[in-house]
Each structure stands twice: as structure tokens, then as C-alpha cells.
């Protein structure tokens, strides 16, 4: 008989309890992997959306944690283009907008872009045509949003009590854009009453040998730009990756994922602790027998910790598999699929397993200690 066989026999003695504990760990690990998977997917989608378009630097208003509240003068764009080392720059206006669907309203991100900027090159038109300069009341819909709203090319959507005609349906490499609306920048400025204002700029640099150095220099120059009256703009320029991890939504997503995971892991550890204490208390006499047969304290500790590890590993496997399935499923749910990528990174799966092992250690250590420190004679007398 292997030691492992003995541990498994001990666990299968109370099948329901073992299964419930495995379920507890699975829920903890699954919650963690799902939430962290989503929040990291969220971040990497954003990073990708900049990198894919070659955006090296993102320029937004300084001191504004909420990206959606950044508000800058569109004219800065021309100044950016004149900075040495900058290849091109384009403005963007990002808003959250309500789209009326009969009696209900759903929110979506709306991107205001200048027609003819390279941004449009990344949209694969599935149907219809792209936006043209001077088209009022025309929009492109991301494929996900189009199916959520059940709209086709030629249909009309209503935003801010104004009708807009859907001229094209696109697919982007970026899931958030797939869940959003693209509209001409000046149309969005008019619609939102933000004439000449934008959320920020994407800056593309000329290829340079010392990229990091160039990024740093250009960022400094951007931040010292001044308006016609010689007053400095309150703007912040950051490398795109750094910008993404600093945005409020990313941090919120990480923070929420982290806190919820921590609570789930804590509950998992408590349930493990409860299971293992009960299990040790009902086996006091058996532990006495093992000690009388010459088992060292260390082996009793290994037995109890081994049992909690086995439960945790089973819970970890179930939890990670569950998380992968739930994430895949979430990516197909219309209400959220603009925000969830269907994949979970292996790093986060590993974190899930590590959490399971921590749960085993936290939940198993005290019971193991209790079990090992009974005097053999006392334990044997126990009924």
C-alpha cells in the first residue's frame, strides 16, 4: 500500500464531506481564476489595441484618473505632429452612450474617430461600407453590438434622441470595439456637445534605435507643450502599456478581482479548516493507534496535510476547469461579451493552483498540529 492510497482511503470514508470541501475549494479557485482572468484579459485587450495600431504614446489630460473624463483641445494634435521623432498622431473621443431599444436602454462605448485615419484600417467590414467625411447621422456598429441590438446595415439606432443610420458592421481585433459604436469625430463632438474637444491622442513614433529613450524624450516634450497664450496644457503623456495599467477601469477591475478572490480564498480556507478539524477530531483514536505503531509526529502531520492537499488539488482542478468554461461561456453572453475575452492565461491558472495549495496549508496546518500533539496514550483512551 502506498502512503497516498492510505490518504485517499481516509478521504473516501466521508465522501459527501470530501466532495463538499472539494467544491468549496473549486468555487474559491474558480472565482479567482475567472475574475482575474477577466480583469487581465481586459488589460491585455487594451494594451493590444494600442500596440496593434503602433501607438507608442498616449496623451490624455493630466490628473484625471477616469479616462472617460479626460478633456483636451483637438488642436494639440497639430503640435504633436511637429515634435521631432513623431511620425503621426491622431485624436480620439471616447464616450459612454445610451442606445434606446424600444423601451429599454443599453450602454455602449462610442468611439469618435477622424475619417481616413489609420484607425479604420484595422476594422474588417463584415457588411456595408466605412464612414466617409461629412456623413452626418451615420455610424458603424461592432459585430457584437450589432447582434445584441439585432441591427443590420440600413437600420437605424437612436442615441441621445437622435436617429443614426447603420452604414457598416465591422469586426475589430479588439473585443471592446466589437461591442461599441464608431462614429465620425465631429459628429460625436456635436452630439455630446463637446465641440473641438477630444479625450486624448495616440502618438506613433518614427522607428528609432533607442526606442525607450525616444519615448521618454517625446513624452517630456509633449508635457511641456503650451497653447497660443503661452500657458502650458495640463496634459500627461505615457507609454501606451503604462497608460493602460494606470487607467481607472483597469485598476478597478484588478482591485475588484483581487478583493473578491481574497474573500473567496479565505472562505475556502475556512471550509478546509472546518473539514480537517472535524476529521481529526473524529479520528483521535486512530491517530493514537498510528502513533502507538511507531508513526512519528511528522508522519501524522504529513497525513493530515496530505489529505488537505489532495482535497485542494482536486478543488483546484475542478475550479480552474470551471473557470475556463465559465469564461468561454461569458464571452458568448450578449450583455457582457464586449468586455470578456474567452481565454484564461496559463499564468492565472497557475495562480489558481497556488491559491488551492495555500488553502490546503492554511486549512490543514492547525488540524495537523493538533493531531500530532496528542499524547499516544491519551488518544488511545479516546472513545
Amino acid at each position: 500500500m502506498y502512503f497516498l492510497t492510505f490518504l485517499i482511503k481516509n478521504l473516501t470514508r466521508r465522501k459527501t464531506r470530501s466532495l463538499l470541501t472539494i467544491l468549496g475549494v473549486a468555487v474559491a479557485v474558480g472565482t479567482m481564476v475567472t475574475l482575474r482572468g477577466i480583469s487581465y484579459g481586459f488589460e491585455s485587450s487594451f494594451v493590444e489595441s494600442f500596440q496593434h495600431r503602433g501607438t507608442d504614446i498616449v496623451v490624455v489630460a493630466a490628473g484625471q484618473a477616469d479616462q472617460l473624463r479626460s478633456d483636451l483641445d483637438e488642436k494639440i494634435c497639430e503640435q504633436l505632429q511637429h515634435i521631432p521623432g513623431v511620425k503621426t498622431a491622431w485624436p480620439g473621443l471616447l464616450e459612454m452612450i445610451d442606445i434606446t431599444r424600444g423601451t429599454s436602454v443599453s450602454s455602449a462605448l462610442i468611439h469618435g474617430w477622424r475619417p481616413n485615419t489609420p484607425l479604420f484600417d484595422d476594422l474588417t467590414l463584415l457588411d456595408g461600407r466605412s464612414l466617409q467625411k461629412g456623413d452626418p447621422h451615420e455610424v458603424l456598429l461592432g459585430t457584437t453590438l450589432a447582434s445584441t441590438l439585432n441591427k443590420k446595415v440600413g437600420d437605424t439606432i437612436e442615441m441621445q434622441q437622435e436617429p443614426f443610420r447603420v452604414v457598416g458592421i465591422f469586426r475589430s481585433f479588439n473585443v471592446y470595439e466589437n461591442g461599441g459604436v464608431v462614429i465620425a469625430l465631429d459628429e460625436l463632438q456635436r452630439l455630446m456637445d463637446r465641440k473641438g474637444r477630444v479625450t486624448g491622442f495616440s502618438v506613433v513614433l518614427e522607428p528609432a534605435e533607442d526606442r525607450a529613450g525616444t519615448v521618454e524624450r517625446v513624452c517630456k516634450e509633449i508635457e511641456t507643450l503650451k497653447d497660443e497664450q503661452g500657458r502650458p496644457y495640463k496634459i500627461m503623456a505615457q507609454e501606451s502599456k503604462q497608460y493602460v495599467s494606470g487607467t481607472l477601469y483597469i485598476q478597478l477591475a484588478h482591485g475588484m478581482a483581487w478583493i473578491t478572490s481574497a474573500i473567496a480564498a479565505f472562505i475556502g480556507a475556512i471550509s478546509m479548516l472546518n473539514t480537517m478539524i472535524t476529521s481529526v477530531l473524529e479520528r483521535i483514536k486512530e491517530i493514537g493507534i498510528l502513533r502507538a505503531m511507531g508513526w512519528r509526529k511528522g508522519r501524522v502531520v504529513r497525513m493530515i496535510l496530505g489529505e488537505s492537499m489532495l482535497l485542494s488539488i482536486a478543488g483546484g482542478v475542478v475550479g480552474v476547469l470551471g473557470a475556463v468554461l465559465v469564461t468561454r461561456w461569458l464571452a458568448t453572453v450578449p450583455e457582457v461579451n464586449g468586455f470578456v475575452r474567452g481565454d484564461v492565461s496559463p499564468v492565472i491558472m497557475m495562480q489558481g493552483f497556488v491559491t488551492a495549495l495555500v488553502v490546503a496549508l492554511v486549512g490543514g496546518t492547525y488540524p495537523a498540529y493538533r493531531a500530532a500533539h496528542w499524547l499516544p496514550t491519551e488518544a488511545l483512551r479516546h472513545e
Partner: protein, 251 residues
Amino acid sequence: MSESEPLLAALRVCKVYPDGKVAALVDLSLEIARGDYVAIMGPSGSGKSTLLNLLGALDEPDRGEIRFEGKPLNAYGNLDEFRSRRIGFVFQSFHLLPTLTALENVQIPMFEGPLRAAQRAQKALELLQTVGLSHRLQHLPSRLSVGERQRVAIARALANDPPLLLADEPTGNLDTRTANDVLDLFAALHRDRGMTLVVVTHSDEVALRAERVVRIRDGRIIEDTRLCTPRTPTHEIPIIAHAQGRGPDLV
């Protein structure tokens, strides 16, 4: 260790349990020679189990010391390891693990030994053959008769080839016939393998099978009688010999 050195000795041991008002053992001294077969008798509560626990390193005396082969027990370092290699315990209520088969129960002490899983199973099989249970290998304790359970427990006590077997009322839960089977087994272990046996009992019949009877009352020895001279063991027969049919069968 000299030839005359006792295998096991208690030197003026005292034991008072934390909640006990009276001392369970009072200044008790006892020597047990290698190869001896000792019965310990006495009324209930006289301290027999307490003494056996001290002799088997399951518990420690408050005063005095236990010596094994002339060395105090605490010189052996880890008492668990000492127990696993040198002591086999047999209890009145068998103390088998209910979820393990006979074959698995016998392997429990071997986890502290050098054997690998397959070797453990092989050795357990041989031990169960020795106690005459080769037809009950996969039975759970609940499906064995009480006599069979005690024989599994004896096989388990032999798992690490200890020189010393300590039994606390081993026949207390058995009827006369199965008790005799167990006593025959003890006699064979004593005779063929030269094991030293210490058996706590209330029964005169059990005590008469021993070579020496020690009577205890109120934690003190009141009588120590030798029934016959101990046979000096010639050699220890390894258990393998029985299994391969080279040695005499014990049952």
C-alpha cells in the same frame, strides 16, 4: 550490552496522572530478560496498563526511568522511532483501522521502515500467512471474527520485526477457543523467534502460559513468581523462513 543485561528494565518508576489523586505507579522496579515471557496480573486499576505503556515508550514516567538494553529510553532520541523498531503492541480491543483491509492494516507500521510499497505488501502477506489468515487478506476488520481481528493485530505488531511484544489483555475480548489460538501464537513467537513477551491479563489461564508472573497492586509489585526457567533463545528466525516453508509454521 552484556549477556546478563536485561532487555528491559523499569527503575523506580512513578506515575501520577494529572487528574489522578492516587499514584498509578509507585517506585516500581522490574527487569525483564531477553527472551522472557512475563504475565502481569493485578486487580483493575492497579496500574498494569500504565506500566505497559511506560515499558513500551507510549508514555513517560514522572520519576525513575525505563532502560532498553541498558540504555535509558531518552537516549534513543525519538521515541516514535524506538517504538516502531523495537516494540510490537497488541491491545484488548484490537485497534485495527476500520477502513483498511487486513493486508493494509498490517502494513501500517511499515511506513516508518525502509520497505517500498510492493515489499510492504509482500511482507504483510507473509505475516498474515504466519498467523494463519492467508484466506482473509482483503477483508475489512468488520468482516472478520474477533479472533481473526486479534490475529491481524498480532501480524501488525510483527511488521517491523520487533524483539519485544507488549500485549494489554489480548484475550480480554475473546472466547476460550480463540483465546487459545492467540496464546498458541504467542508461544510460537516466543519459542521460534525468541521474542520477549509481556502480557497483561486478568486470566489465570493466560498467566499460566507465561514463564513468569508479576502481580501488581496499587502501583507496586507484590509478587514475582517464576513458573519455569526461561529457555535461552538460540537464534531469531526471520519471518521469511516461515513464509517460504523453511521454518516451522506457527499455527
